[in-house]
């Protein structure tokens, strides 16, 4: 039986949810507003919220100084391919762990997750030397591989969780009907797990898009994505807050738009199996 919620309670919940939402969104809103201020207005104390002279000057300067399209293209390629590649590897891995578990499956899953606990800087030099040897420095291919490996544990974990919700009997039935392993994965499992796979892809695309340690350390000119674009406007000696905000807004805009349009799939995927 559905629990009844009083209008007062509903109003309270809605207000609290909006307050939390606005609190979380406020830094992004502030960045966007600052991007339309002059440098002097950006550092004004007390801060000016809306009553300032709106200007597009910072965007003009940023676009004039930097090749935004190249950074954007690199971000799309690197985040997109690393996510797709990770998913191609993770689907069979998660399938085997979910439907053909061994005694060590839990240990393997925990071990995979534990690799995320290693500070990235601890392996910077070995990775850098490998990249030099393989000629992968400042290449998109190199970054695709590194980001795929970094996010692979999360992809496997998420897919494993979704797959566990799918009754194994359905796959058994497909096998009895003569489906091969490939057909079972592609035509039975994948369609049923689409919401989970979609949300996994989206989340990992966002993680890869925002990754700043490896993208800054392994790139120079050709493969530098939007994280490097933002970093080029940060300065400890000189006031560039408004320009930095404009660069940040331009860097997060594509991912914000993507998140906005796919929020239904994201929420559906992230809550998949959460309520039984």
């Amino acid at each position: 039986m559905a629990r009844s919620v009083t209008p007062r309670r509903k109003l309270l919940n809605t207000t609290v949810a909006w307050a939390i939402g606005l609190l979380i969104f406020f830094p992004i809103l502030w960045t966007i507003l600052t991007s339309f201020k002059s440098e002097a207005q950006a550092i004004a104390a007390p801060p000016i919220f809306l009553g300032f002279d709106w200007t597009l000057e910072n965007y003009r300067v940023v676009l004039e100084r930097s090749d935004y399209a190249r950074f954007l293209w690199n971000s799309i390629i690197i985040a997109g391919l690393s996510t797709v590649l990770g998913c191609i590897i993770a689907v069979p891995a998660a399938w085997s762990m979910a439907f053909v578990p061994s005694r060590r499956t839990k240990d393997i899953l925990l071990w995979m997750l534990s690799t995320k606990m290693l500070p990235a800087v601890g392996v910077l030099y070995p990775i850098y030397l490998i990249f030099i040897e393989l000629g992968l420095l400042d290449s998109r291919a190199g970054l695709v591989v590194v980001l795929m490996l970094i996010n692979l544990p999360i992809i496997v974990w998420m897919l494993y969780t979704y797959f566990k919700e799918i009754p194994g009997e359905i796959l058994e039935a497909a096998r009895m009907d003569g489906a091969t392993l490939r057909q079972e994965l592609l035509y039975v499992l994948t369609p049923m797990a689409i919401p989970g796979i979609a949300s996994t892809l989206l989340l990992n695309f966002i993680l890869a898009w925002n990754e700043a340690f490896w993208t800054l350390n392994l790139t120079a000119v050709n493969a530098a994505p939007l994280t490097a674009f933002i970093a080029s406007y940060s300065s400890p000696e000189g006031l560039f807050f408004a320009k930095l905000s404009a660069a940040s807004t331009m860097a997060i805009a594509p991912i914000l738009i993507l998140g906005w349009f796919s929020q239904k799939q994201l929420v559906r995927g992230l809550t998949f199996g959460a309520v039984k």
């Binding site: 002059s38 440098e39 002097a40 550092i43 004004a44 104390a45 100084r65 390629i77 391919l81 797709v84 590649l85 191609i88 910077l124 030099y125 850098y128 030397l129 030099i132 420095l137 400042d138 290449s139 998109r140 291919a141 190199g142 695709v144 592609l186 800054l216 350390n217 120079a220 000119v221 050709n222 530098a224 490097a228 970093a231 080029s232 406007y233 940060s234 300065s235 400890p236 000696e237 000189g238 006031l239 560039f240």
Partner: protein, 437 residues
Amino acid sequence: MSLKSTLCAATALSLITASSAFADGHSATITIATVNNGDMIRMQGYTDQFTEETGIAVEWVTLEENVLRQRVTTDITTNGGQFDIMTIGMYETPIWGANDWLVPLNDLSDEYNADDILPAMAGGLSHDGTLYAAPFYGESSMIMYRTDLMEAAGLEMPDAPSWNFIAKAAREMTDRENDINGICLRGKAGWGEGGAFITAMSNSFGARWFDEEWNAQFDTREWSDTLNFYKNMMDDAGPAGFATNGFNENLSLFNQGKCGMWIDATVAASFVTGDDSTVADSVGFALAPDNGMGKRSNWLWAWALAIPAGTQQEAEAKQFIEWATGTGYIELVAENEGWANVPPGARTSLYENPDYQAVPFAQMTLDSILSANPNDSTVDPSPYVGVQFAAIPEFAGIATEVSQEFSAAYAGQQSIEEALEKAQAITNEAMEAAGYR
């Protein structure tokens, strides 16, 4: 489209993007790693002229100072070859030069006139007498103060004030009701932020980082005097939260008329007298204070262009360095943007130029630079080169930790004595591990 076709397309796309190169039609392309500050950004704007003159294209990798330092250090220590020119400072140059990681710049052309480089800059960018980086601009630190507030306080700023005068003036100028702080100084943790300031200040109090046997000296009275003087003055006359203020925060406060005095980099002079400043018409300059012990509290720094030893384009890189740090570039900027905007502090001839002498902060900048000596920065003898740093590889890590302890003391999270005790232990431990002691 089937999944198989999608996979094939994705693989093909990745191969294409991996192998693609940016063909630009120039005879050569050099890649330069640099910091994001006004003078460097201005130089990027004039790069097309260099390309027109030489046919050499230039790619820029601009990063925040600390990120850049980590990035270029990784590349040069692994011989990664990502950059043909690196923007580095006085700290890295002698260390990297000693390790043969940089190309010596002792064969620059006669037209370049390397002898024109200010001796203090050339000395700090050399190792064993060989120049390893050409200064693009140099800086020291000095006092920037509000002439109107100083007058209202009934005081007159000497050209070379003492710390006692500065403390007195700071307290007199403070007006909490009107949100005016007598003095704004760096307190932020970080060896290049608050760490640089307090080290330079400590020189004037007779303190030093190490004795001649590389023993830490934080247990001396001189360090205690430095930190107590700083904290008492800032508690009485500094802005709220000064323990987390760095260059940008103080610049912002000064430009909004909230600081009576600010002691910081000489390059800030063009900011506080520029369009973004609300107090541009009432700013005066003076040498950084001393304490009557023969050393002033100003630092010495240069952003300089160096060529990593692994570059394949040494000749082209040298051509660029000669162009960017030569007198021709200074004239180019002066012609287009005025003499106040030329990169300061690198060449003697700039300060002999009557047009530049008319710039209000020119002479004080030169005097400040000339009064700092990286080879003799402390009252008692010390084994290191550098004014606000010790040019040893371990210093950046140690000084960052030490400055964190100092900042915690400024913020009242621990006493000055506790901070100094910890600094002493941190430094001695690190120096022992590194084999100095």
